[in-house]
């Protein structure tokens, strides 16, 4: 384990490395394209006009800032820590995904790209991508595993309403990782006019850093809002992790506030011991997939294993490389929560707060339930409520044995 760095906010280095994680493991055909994205993003960052334009859309189109809400009844129910929800489920399209899509679509426009491709698992990133493509009149192609198309039919229909073409992916296991493979194959085959809008803090450099930068508005707002509400910083932060973009967005602005305890919650599926889970940090080891080195679920021959989670948005055998680094450095604690625990938390939140959460943040809430009671009443905890649960009602009904 490396010594504690001077800052946890300096990564990645110029090669896209967070410690040993990250990098640019892509075919030569894509390498010039990735360098072009990196250059365009560096230019955009240095241009105050870019941030001003983004801020304007975030305010008037996305609906930011999202509220920081004191979840009073859940706080009472658990007893102990004072729990706040960062309400990113109130964003346009119902999740945090749009923060990143808005940033990247403005970048793609600067680059003069006419065709946008994306991968999606649960369909939230696909919907957000289709939304910004509709808004700016760009062609949109979304790759989605055939298995996911079946279990997320409402989001497939939404994407089509927004004018996107949804391409079913039947290769491999027909889920998110295969959708990402096919999106990369598309990009290799359409190098001239196409921009790949990656939905999480994974992929080759500069995507993990860029997506984090577009999501860090979540944590920046939280700092200001908590100061206003309580006159100080929170004591702990908690968020669910698939690829990990909502978590990086909340965590990043607090990484150097080492008094703030930070917890990431992976999906334990049927339980880590069963092998049917999506907890890359808890149950995986470092490897190379989708352009970066990170913790992966894999066998001893380096073949990537299928992930399992009741939540399609967490059903990915990898995790963003910055999380792998934060895990190894010990700055962030990573834990896991099972399907059943998430289902219970989902119902609790619906009944006590009148908020139907997505299954993804239900994982974070389940872990809050495990630790809140042991914390003092003046412990300020922020959970990222990163998506709303409308998309999950069919899955939940099925799990509860209800026929709709």
């Amino acid at each position: 384990m490396s010594a504690e760095p001077n800052s946890y906010q300096n990564g990645p280095d110029e090669h896209g490395h967070f410690g040993i994680f990250g990098g640019r493991f892509v075919a030569e055909t894509l390498m010039p394209l990735i360098l072009e994205v990196e250059q365009a993003y560096e230019d955009a960052k240095a241009d105050p006009g870019f941030q001003a334009e983004l801020d304007d859309y975030l305010t008037h189109y996305v609906g930011r800032p999202s509220p920081l809400y004191f979840a009073e009844r859940i706080t009472e129910h658990f007893g102990g820590a004072k729990l706040y929800f960062k309400r990113d489920e109130l964003n346009h399209t119902g999740a945090h995904k749009i923060n990143n899509c808005m940033g990247q679509i403005l970048l793609a426009r600067r680059m003069g790209k006419k065709r946008i491709i994306a991968e999606t698992g649960a369909g939230q990133h696909g919907v957000a991508t289709a939304t910004v493509c509709a808004r700016f009149g760009l062609e949109c192609v979304v790759y989605m595993g055939a298995t996911d198309i079946e279990r997320q039919a409402p989001n497939v229909f939404r994407m089509k309403l927004l004018g996107a073409e949804v391409i079913p992916v039947t290769s491999g296991t027909a889920t998110l990782k295969d959708a990402m493979n096919d999106a990369l194959r598309d990009w290799v085959s359409n190098v001239d006019d196409t921009y790949y809008l990656i939905g999480t803090v994974a992929g080759p450099h500069p995507y993990p850093a860029m997506v984090r930068d577009f999501q860090k508005v979540i944590g920046e707002e939280t700092r200001v809002q908590m100061q206003a509400a309580e006159g100080r910083l929170p004591d702990s932060l908690i968020a669910c992790i698939g690829g990990g973009s909502n978590a990086m967005g909340l965590f990043y602005p607090f990484l150097d506030d080492t008094d703030v305890r930070i917890i990431g919650v992976e999906a334990a599926g049927h339980g880590i011991e069963t092998g049917a889970h999506a907890a890359s940090l808890t149950g995986g080891r470092p490897g190379v997939l989708h352009g970066n080195r990170t913790f992966l679920l894999q066998d001893d021959d380096g073949q990537i294993l299928d992930a399992h989670s009741i939540s399609a948005g967490l059903d990915y055998p990898g995790i963003g490389p910055e999380h792998s680094w934060l895990h190894e450095s010990g700055r962030v604690e990573y834990v896991s929560v099972t399907d059943q625990e998430a289902l219970d938390a989902f119902q609790l939140c619906s009944r006590l707060e009148g908020i139907i959460p997505a299954l993804e943040p239900s994982h974070a809430l389940a872990h809050v339930g495990k630790i809140a009671a042991d914390l003092p009443a003046d412990h300020l905890m922020v959970m990222n409520l990163c998506g709303r649960g409308d998309k999950d009602v069919f899955t939940i009904a099925d799990a509860l044995g209800v026929e709709l």
């Binding site: 075919a27 055909t29 894509l30 290769s171 194959r185 190379v288 997939l289 021959d301 380096g302 990537i304």
Partner: protein, 284 residues
């Protein structure tokens, strides 16, 4: 940086072919497709069916540069028992009967990384592997496997593509060895084919930057196409069309039919004949 002594087989083979005034034919097969034994029979038969060098595919669950034919080959091979250590065993067995035909492992980095880079390079050299083509290791990641491979005397054959511009080409060429593999299309394996004129100018561009032989692959499916490539490059690589013959010669249970090996080797021979026809025409 220092380069270790290689097996010498790749250099010797291209030198011999240069003397004969013809290009090389390089077939690709997926190790263990559709099973270990059938795949070994194909491998063993390829030199007799016109293969000058052989690319042996290492399976990976997520082959992001491959089209449907090679993806399917990988899935069959996985079911057939493919593992990196068994692929090395296959090369070891091949070397008992053939110490001249170069074998290049082609695949993705993760299986080699998980095997352990140092151990992999040592075991591969000992088994009789001459070079590596690793799709997802661009020059930016040379420190991972390329530099250790060169130091260990293992050729590291780089891919150059239509998107590799003149500014980038020197970096791509710098640490390549054995030969340069020109990917003829911006795309995945086994899909579209490039125009011969475009390939010719691309090969000429590469030749201005390197003295190494230039092989061309991606999109070559027929003896005629192989002949056209052989007239303008130092080698023609065929993969998808060959593994498709494996796919076409399976029974209802996915097992190899008795005709499978013969049919694969038959296509290999006719592709090799295409390559040799180019040499004859050039000589006329």
């Amino acid at each position: 940086m220092s380069r270790g002594a290689t097996s010498g087989r790749i250099e010797a083979r291209f030198e011999k072919l240069a003397g004969e005034g013809r290009a090389a034919f390089i077939p690709f097969i997926m190790a263990a497709d559709p099973d270990l034994e059938t795949s070994f029979e194909i491998l063993q038969g390829l030199p007799g069916a016109g293969a000058d060098l052989i690319e042996l595919g290492v399976i990976f669950s997520d082959p992001m540069a491959d089209g449907p034919a090679i993806q399917a080959a990988g899935l069959r091979a996985k079911a057939g028992g493919a593992r990196l250590d068994r692929t090395l065993d296959m090369v070891r067995r091949f070397r008992v009967g053939d110490n001249d035909t170069p074998i290049i492992l082609m695949g993705y980095y993760n299986p080699m990384y998980i095997y352990g880079v140092e151990r992999f390079l040592a075991d591969a050299a000992e088994a009789g592997v001459d070079g590596l083509i690793v799709v997802d290791l661009p020059p930016e990641e040379d420190v991972e496997l390329c530099l250790p491979a060169l130091a260990a005397g293992m050729h590291f054959i780089r891919l150059a593509t239509p998107t590799t511009d003149d500014a980038r080409l020197p970096a791509v060429i710098a640490n390549t060895s054995g030969f340069v593999y020109y990917v003829a299309i911006a795309g995945i394996t086994g899909t579209k084919s490039a125009d011969a004129g475009e390939i010719q100018s691309a090969v000429e561009r590469l030749k201005r930057h390197t003295d190494l032989p230039v092989a061309v692959g991606f999109g070559i499916k027929t003896p005629e196409q192989a002949e056209a490539i052989a007239a303008i490059a130092d080698a023609a690589v065929v993969g998808s069309a060959i593994v498709q013959v494996v796919a076409d010669n399976l029974d209802a249970d996915g097992k190899a039919t008795p005709e499978l090996v013969g049919n694969v080797l038959g296509l290999s021979q006719s592709l090799a004949n295409g390559v040799r026809a180019a040499a004859r025409k050039a000589a006329e």
